[in-house]
Amino acid sequence: MSIEANPNLAIAMRGVTKIFGDNPQVALEMLRSGRSKADVQAETGHVVGLDNVSLDIAKGQIFVVMGLSGSGKSTLIRHVNRLIEPTAGEIIVDGTDVLTMTLAQLRSYRRSSVAMVFQKFGLLPHRSVIDNVAYGLEVRGVAKKQRTEEAAKWIEIVGLAGYENSQPRQLSGGQQQRVGLARALALDTDIILMDEAFSALDPLIRSGMQDQLIELQKSLGKTILFITHDFDEALKIGDRIAVLKDGALQQEGKPEDIVLRPANEHIEEFVRQVNKARAIHVRSIMERGATEPCERSVPMDARCEDVLPLFAEHQWVGVLDNDGNQIGRVTAKQVIKALARYSPDAA
C-alpha cells in the first residue's frame, strides 16, 4: 500500500499504528483482528497510542490535530520526525519515506526538513536567547557569524529584540515560547511541528501568539502541523482540522465542516462548547450567485461574528471576493440558523 508521490502533499500518513509495550506485534495482531483498544490493554498490558491513522497534509497550510489528553495527538506529531517509531504504517514527508531512513539520514532530515516547537519550550537553560535560537543552525554546522546574524533576525521578527543576551529563565512563559518559535523558524524548514505550543500560556498571550503564527504562516508559506487540546484554538488557526480520540481519527476537514457537520457524538460535544460565530465563515452559509449590491458588505474570509453587528442596521450583507465583486449575500436568519445548536434530526 505504497503512497503515490503527490507533489502537493507535505506529509502523508498511512495506517500509522503505535502500540506501547514489550511485544507490540502480538497486540497489533489482536488489534487487526478487530479487538478493541480496551481489550488489547486488558489482555496484553499494551497501550494503543495510535490506531490506524491516515492523514494527508497539503503544503502551505496550518493543519491542526485536536484531541483531549491521552488521545494520541502528541504521539502522532512525534512520528513525523520519528522521535517515536511507529509499530506499523507509512509516513511520507515531501515524497520521502521517513521510516526507511538510516540514522545519519534521519539526523540530516531533522536538521534541514522539520523543525519543532514544544509545549514545555525545551530551551537550553545554560544558553542565552540568541544561542538558543541559533542552536538548530549550530547543529547543522553553520558558521558562528552567519548563524548569529540569522538568529538575531528571527528574534527581531518574533518581537524579542533587546533580549538577545538574556537567559531563558529571565523571560516570561510567552517570551520563552517566542524563543522556541524563533529557534524553529531560524532553521527555515518547509515543515514546522508545534506540539501544544501555546497551551502553557495565558489566554491573552496565547491569542497574540496565535495571531502572530497566522501572519507568519501567510508571509512564509510554511506547512505547520499544530497540536492542541483547545477546540477554539483549532478553529482559529486551522486551515484543516483532524480530531483524534483514543488514538483513532474521528473526523478530518475544514473548520466549518466540523462545526456544521460533526461526525459523531464526541465531536458534537466539542462543537457545543465553542463560539461558532468565530468558527463559521460567512461564505460557507451565504446565498450564492449574483444579487443586487448590498449597502454593506464584508470580504469572503469574514466570519459570522464579523457580520452579526451589521444586521442591526441592514437586512442583507453582501460577501465580496478578493477583487471586490459581490459573490453572495447573507441574512440574519441564515446566520442564526448556522449558529443554532446542531441536531441530527433537523438536518
Binding site: 522539520v114 525545551g122 537550553l124
Partner: protein, 290 residues
C-alpha cells in the same frame, strides 16, 4: 556452630599463591604502569612545597573569593591556612593536600567516562552498581594488603587505595546527573538532529555539571578521610602525625594534626560547594525544575 561443609584452606591457599605469582611475575609491570600516577603525585607535592606559603594562601583565598564573591569564605580560608602554618603543620598539610588533589584528579579522569557509560546503558549500570558498592563498603585494609604486596609500601599503594575509596561517589553522581537532565530539553535537542556526542557535550554535561561538581566535592572529602590509613603505608603528611600521636600516646600531636585535616576538609568542601551553587544559579536549574 555452622557445620564445616567444605574445606576453605585450599581455596585460600590458591588465592595467596595466585597473588604471590602475580607479584613475582607482573610486579614490575604494575609498577611501571603506576609510574605516571607517582609522577603526578610527586609533581603536585613538590610544587606545593616549593611554592612560598604566602602565595598558596593568596591563591586559595583568591579562589574562595571567586567562588562566593563575598568576604566570609575567603576569611575562613585565610584563618584556616594561618592555623596550619602556626601549628607547624604546613609541610605535612601540603603533602596531604597533594595526595588529595592527585587522587581527585585521577578519580575525575576515570569516573566521568565511567559515569557517562553507566548513564547510557542499563546493563553497564547493573554491572557497575555492585562494584561501586563493594569499593565503598569493603574495608580498605582488605585491598591495601594486595596493593602493598604488588607495589611495596610507599606513595603508590596509598594513592591507589585513596582513589578506589574516593571515586565511587563521583561515578554515581555523574551517572545520576546525566540521567536527570530534563527530558523535554533532551527531546528538543534530539528533534534538531543532534548526534549522541553533540547531546552529551552540548546539553547533558553542561546541565549535569552542578551534580558532577557535588560528586567532586564528595570525592575530595572521601580522599581526605583516607589520609590516616594511607599514611600507614607510607603516604606521610598529616595522617602520619596522627599515627605517630597514637603510637607515642602524644594526644596533642594527634589532636593538632587531626584538626589540620579538618581544616583542609573545610577549605575544600566550602570552595567546591560554592562553585556548585554558583553554577546552579548560572544555569537556573532551581527555577527550571519548579
Amino acid at each position: 556452630m555452622f557445620p564445616q561443609l567444605i574445606d576453605t584452606r585450599p581455596l585460600r591457599r590458591a588465592i595467596d599463591d595466585g597473588l604471590n605469582w602475580v607479584v613475582r611475575n607482573w610486579g614490575d609491570g604494575f609498577e611501571a604502569a603506576a609510574y605516571p600516577l607517582l609522577m603526578l603525585l610527586k609533581g603536585i607535592e613538590d610544587l606545593l612545597i616549593a611554592t612560598p606559603w604566602w602565595l598558596i594562601i593568596a591563591i586559595l583565598t583568591g579562589i574562595a573569593w571567586l567562588a562566593t564573591r563575598s568576604w566570609k569564605l575567603p576569611l575562613v580560608v585565610l584563618l584556616s591556612l594561618l592555623f596550619l602554618g602556626l601549628m607547624d603543620l604546613w609541610k605535612d598539610a601540603m603533602t596531604t593536600m597533594a595526595l588529595m588533589i592527585a587522587a581527585t584528579l585521577t578519580a575525575i579522569v576515570v569516573s566521568i567516562p565511567v559515569g557517562v557509560w553507566m548513564s547510557r546503558s542499563l546493563n553497564v549500570r547493573k554491572i557497575f552498581t555492585p562494584v561501586l558498592d563493594l569499593m565503598q563498603t569493603l574495608p580498605s585494609f582488605v585491598y591495601l594488603i594486595p596493593t602493598v604486596m604488588i607495589f611495596g609500601p610507599g606513595k603508590i599503594p596509598a594513592l591507589i587505595a585513596t582513589i578506589v575509596y574516593a571515586a565511587p561517589p563521583l561515578i554515581r553522581l555523574t551517572d545520576l546527573g546525566l540521567r536527570s537532565v530534563d527530558p523535554a530539553v533532551m527531546e528538543a535537542s534530539r528533534a534538531f538532529g543532534t548526534n549522541p556526542r553533540q547531546r552529551l557535550l552540548g546539553v547533558q554535561i553542561p546541565l549535569a555539571l552542578p551534580t558532577i561538581l557535588a560528586g567532586i566535592n564528595q570525592t575530595t572529602m572521601m580522599a581526605l578521610s583516607m589520609v590516616v590509613i594511607a599514611s600507614m603505608i607510607g603516604a606521610g603528611g598529616l595522617g602520619y602525625q596522627v599515627l605517630q600521636g597514637i603510637g607515642r600516646l602524644e594526644v596533642s600531636r594527634g589532636l593538632f594534626a587531626g584538626l589540620g585535616i579538618v581544616v583542609l576538609a573545610i577549605i575544600f568542601d566550602r570552595i567546591t560547594q560554592s562553585f556548585g551553587k554558583q553554577l546552579q544559579g548560572r544555569i537556573g536549574l532551581a527555577e527550571a525544575k519548579s
